[in-house]
Symmetry: C3
Subunit: 223 residues, 3 copies
């Protein structure tokens, strides 16, 4: 589907490796949240798998890749389950579920925003559509994890730090590079790393997106 | 796919215009809910887009329209984002988010119930199936909006006023008109207007669907 | 798609009958939960239909069966609506919504885990993929029911009894039998019955999956 010689191979190495990294990271974030919520081994495995595979399943359904990769390449499911089992055996105390959850979530966000964009573009979507789907893939896993746990998704929390903005930026950059045919797998890794760095930086340094003035002034918007 | 000359063109004018109106209305309802919940600009845009495009994405996946219109016709996404930005800039006080939210939600419900039915029928579904999918499309956006915000969807709230009943009626009427080949775009607009009027009327005049007697008598169903 | 003579017919009898039983059971569980939450007739019908048809719709989208059976074979929708109406007319007191909800939920879980696996296998998925999709189908209805009602899905609750484990076992057993070509419809029914029995037994006798030690010792995992 792509003309550049060698592109497909190298891109699929990145996509496979990047997708695996994203799956492991999101699985860890789901498992850590499960531990904090006192779930048993089944809850840990299921929430890890839903977080790790959910975004990719949505992406595959949208581009017509049926059955979705998560149901055919079962080593992705295996990687999610293995990650969950490691965390179950480790049994981290609750205070070790906070920042590791933030970091694994950021890694999953960055990897899936980029690989989601690449996969969508390779399936023939236009660059803007691919970027939009990459953003959906990136934020999808976290939304599924949070919705299944009965909490408001991180992306929709008041006063949350930058989350969708770096993912949208990384997806748009990836799509632009693909469109002008200068995308290379290692550049994709850099894009993902930039998304992760901005997300983690926003948590550490308190960066915010533009907020309505009543929120900025610390006044709640009430009647 | 349809024989009547001129049907496709006129229908697509209605479908495009009606879908746009539905997208803008649902986007506004999502943005208003975000403002009430003190979300920042990203949360406002994402909740508006998910509300506006979610129902149509579900409909397109169900009828095999892959990728869904929301990912290919990006002006729909653009309309949702623009609507959200207008509301962000306006920054309405919370008391101005109540009834506008109800009204925009009603408009989205009515438009999508009708255009969803028409789209499904044009893709070859039988009239009853098309009506069922139209109902799903109409209530889908609001369900997604409410579920992502961590609240029970309006359609499943105790003591809620008429919501799914007018949508089901409008979808069934549209499907019947399509089946007997007397559907015209302006009749579709009338159907949507009737759905909207019944929904808003039920809010104003307190119309309810049949309820179990213990609810009617004001006694909660408890042990 | 399957060579064994008579397999398709008998299998489709089981699949149709089993799917119908699963639909009615899940619809009853959704309707009972609605009654407990004081929903009106529309909420009861919609939650019943979403619970009964949701898992199958996800399964059909994943295997490319478009439009999903729920939108083409409307007697399934009719069965869900009829079940909901029976429960609306009966108007059970809240204490009669507890164990019937558990039992109908278990029946839906068992039937869909098996029929979901069979359907996926017949659509060409490998045995492990079919089992994974069968598990998804089985737990999907309950997840949709609980998420729409604003509660944490049963499968992700702390201290919950066996739920996904019997479903995964039943799906894996069914897939194994299909793979080695010794599956027979009545064996499928036995698999489903075993899933149901283990689920109900775990509720009655307090069986748990492995839990982290701090949960087992009754200590909450806190900072």
């Amino acid at each position: 589907m792509l003309a550049s010689p060698g592109f497909d191979d190298a891109a699929s190495v990145l996509n496979v490796g990047g997708e695996l990294l994203g799956v492991v990271a999101f699985a860890a974030s789901g498992a850590l949240l499960s531990v904090r919520r006192d779930l048993d081994i089944v809850g840990i495995v299921l929430l890890a798998a839903a977080t790790a595979l959910g975004g990719g399943i949505i992406r595959d359904v949208m581009i017509g890749k049926i059955p979705p990769t998560a149901f055919t390449d079962l080593w992705l499911f295996g990687a999610a389950v293995a990650t969950a089992l490691v965390i179950f055996v480790w049994q981290p105390p609750a205070r070790l579920t906070r920042w590791p959850l933030d970091i694994t979530d950021a890694v999953g966000l960055g990897m899936f925003a980029v690989t989601g964009t690449v996969t969508a573009y390779q399936h023939g979507l236009s660059a803007p559509s691919a970027a939009m789907l990459g953003l959906t893939t990136g934020v999808g896993g976290g939304i599924i994890r949070d919705a299944l746990s009965g909490q408001v998704p991180v992306v929709l929390r008041p006063n949350e730090y930058l989350y969708a903005i770096p993912a949208a930026g990384g997806a748009a950059l990836t799509a632009g590079l693909l469109h002008f045919d200068v995308y290379r797998p290692w550049i994709g890794l850099l894009c993902a790393a930039a998304v992760i760095a901005v997300r983690i930086g926003s948590l550490k340094f308190g960066w915010h997106g533009p907020r309505p003035w009543y929120t900025v002034r610390g006044r709640k918007n009430e009647d």
